[in-house]
């Protein structure tokens, strides 16, 4: 398990008395781009919150970079972009990033680097509240990139973006992975699955598939991942 960045074992999470995740076990290999996919409400955000250590866990364990999730030593080592952008509407983009950089103890030059990474350099002095939804999401993603964390946990970072920007961000994700970062990226659009090294597909709170895109294609005989997913759903339902 030395080269796995995240490992969950028999994870169960109940929210308001109802099981949101049941018997979830998986490992995430280091230095790779991992997709977390599944329909809306299947528990993606809950699982990512558990990895970040902000979600109370009912049973099971989550290990992150060799520590139990939520360990104080992890706080500088993981970058997190929440599904709702976590940025202050009444600050400019640069002021917001400078604050988070100060909290992380990241160098001030990091602000310019991450702004360039998410293509927001032109908006640095605009108030976050005056940005478009996609721009705000990218500002939140920029915060996650501060301090060059070893693990990036990104909750639907490409929602609401045009194909060109989406392509740019996925190239960025792969550049980061090649440089040694582990990424977990959630999405509910299957066409992004093809850009991942590995896929973890959740359905109704359980692991539905845990494979490479090619493995999934081979197992179903479909070339298109969306069709492969639908094929799997049909197979399981007839059993």
């Amino acid at each position: 398990m030395a080269n796995s960045a995240v490992a969950a074992t028999a994870l169960r999470i109940a929210r308001t008395g109802r099981d949101v995740l049941r018997d979830v076990s998986f490992t995430v290999p280091a230095c790779s781009v991992n997709g977390l996919l599944g329909p809306s409400g299947c528990g993606k955000t809950t699982l990512l919150r558990a990895i970040m250590g902000v979600q109370a866990v009912t049973a099971g364990v989550v290990e992150v970079l060799g520590h139990p999730a939520g360990h104080p030593g992890l706080r500088r080592r993981i970058g997190y972009a929440t599904q709702t952008p976590a940025v202050y509407a009444d600050l400019t983009v640069a002021e917001c990033l400078r604050y988070f950089a100060a909290v992380l103890g990241a160098p001030a030059t990091d602000v310019d680097r991450v702004l360039a990474d998410v293509d927001l350099a032109g908006q640095r002095d605009r108030l976050v509240g005056s940005l478009s939804g996609g721009q705000r999401g990218r500002a939140s993603l920029a915060v996650a990139l501060l301090g060059e964390p070893e693990l990036l946990v990104l909750d639907e970072p490409t929602v609401g973006l045009d194909p060109v920007l989406r392509e740019d961000l996925w190239s960025l994700f792969h550049r980061l992975a090649a440089a040694g970062t582990t990424l977990i990226v959630s999405s509910h659009v299957m066409d992004e699955a093809a850009r991942c090294d590995r896929l973890l597909i959740l359905r109704d709170g359980t692991v539905f598939a845990d494979d490479t895109p090619d493995g999934l294609r081979a197992a179903t005989g479909e070339t298109d991942l969306e069709r492969a997913f639908l094929q799997l759903v049909r197979e399981r339902e007839t059993v």
Partner: protein
């Protein structure tokens, strides 16, 4: 706790305020406007001199309670708090950052209000600095209580309504409308456990005589203790892990 992070948080809160000039203007001017109104309601320098010192503490208390509870509620209900809780920021760093930022606002607010009162004919004798200190403590008390009760509100509507719930009873019982000694036993006990009573008592004593006596010092320490207690409890209500 980390002083760099606390200072960065205070600077961030002040920067947020700076982008909202209307709020800053209201923070600085509303207590002064109310004091001016009071002066003209009485139209009598003696009556104004009797009530003004206490209200110099009460108005900033109310304003800071509202501002602090809404601001921190906003932090709690947006994703930023969850995000901050995954970062190397202590819960006290966040609370003290807010306290420092609002404390600076309180100093400016009370300074302006006291200046306006002096201009309206309020005679503070030799105790200007003591009165300033107590009024700032009152504003801090409002802020600290606002921070604390925001933990029990899940919407801005609730937070706003905590003002009449937590602040007005303290105002009714603090001895301003009716001397505390003349209240029934139960009300007297209640007013004994309300921090605003000590603040108003302190302002009365400070303006009555320029000397710092033991009773005045006790009042000041009680108010300061309540500020610290509310801040500590406020930090305790922040949760890193939620259900």
């Amino acid at each position: 706790m980390n002083p760099t992070i606390t200072a960065a948080t205070a600077r961030r809160v002040l920067t947020q305020l700076r982008h909202d000039p209307r709020t800053v203007a209201m923070l600085l001017l509303v207590p002064s406007l109310l004091m001016s109104l009071l002066r003209f309601v009485f139209n009598d320098e003696r009556a104004f001199n009797h009530l003004a010192p206490a209200l110099l503490g009460v108005f900033p208390f109310v304003v800071m309670f509202l501002v602090a509870s809404v601001t921190t509620l906003r932090e709690r209900t947006t994703a930023t708090l969850e995000r901050l809780m995954t970062l190397p920021l202590g819960r006290l760093d966040l609370i003290l950052g807010y306290a420092i930022a609002f404390g600076l606002v309180a100093v400016a607010q009370v300074g302006v209000a006291t200046g306006v009162c002096a201009w309206l004919g309020l005679d503070l004798g030799g105790s200007l600095w003591t009165v300033l200190l107590i009024a700032v403590l009152d504003a801090l008390l409002g802020m600290a209580l606002g921070l604390l009760v925001s933990a029990f509100a899940t919407s801005e509507f609730q937070a706003i309504q905590f003002m009449p719930l937590f602040v007005l009873p303290q105002f009714l019982l603090c001895g301003l409308l009716q001397p505390r000694e003349q209240m029934s036993q139960v009300l007297h006990w209640l007013s004994d456990v309300m921090p605003l009573s000590y603040a108003v008592d302190a302002l009365g004593r400070a303006t009555a005589s320029a000397d710092m006596d033991a009773a005045l010092l006790t009042d000041i320490l009680v108010v300061a203790g309540c500020v610290l207690l509310a801040l500590a409890l406020g930090a305790g209500t922040l949760r890193r892990r939620t259900r």
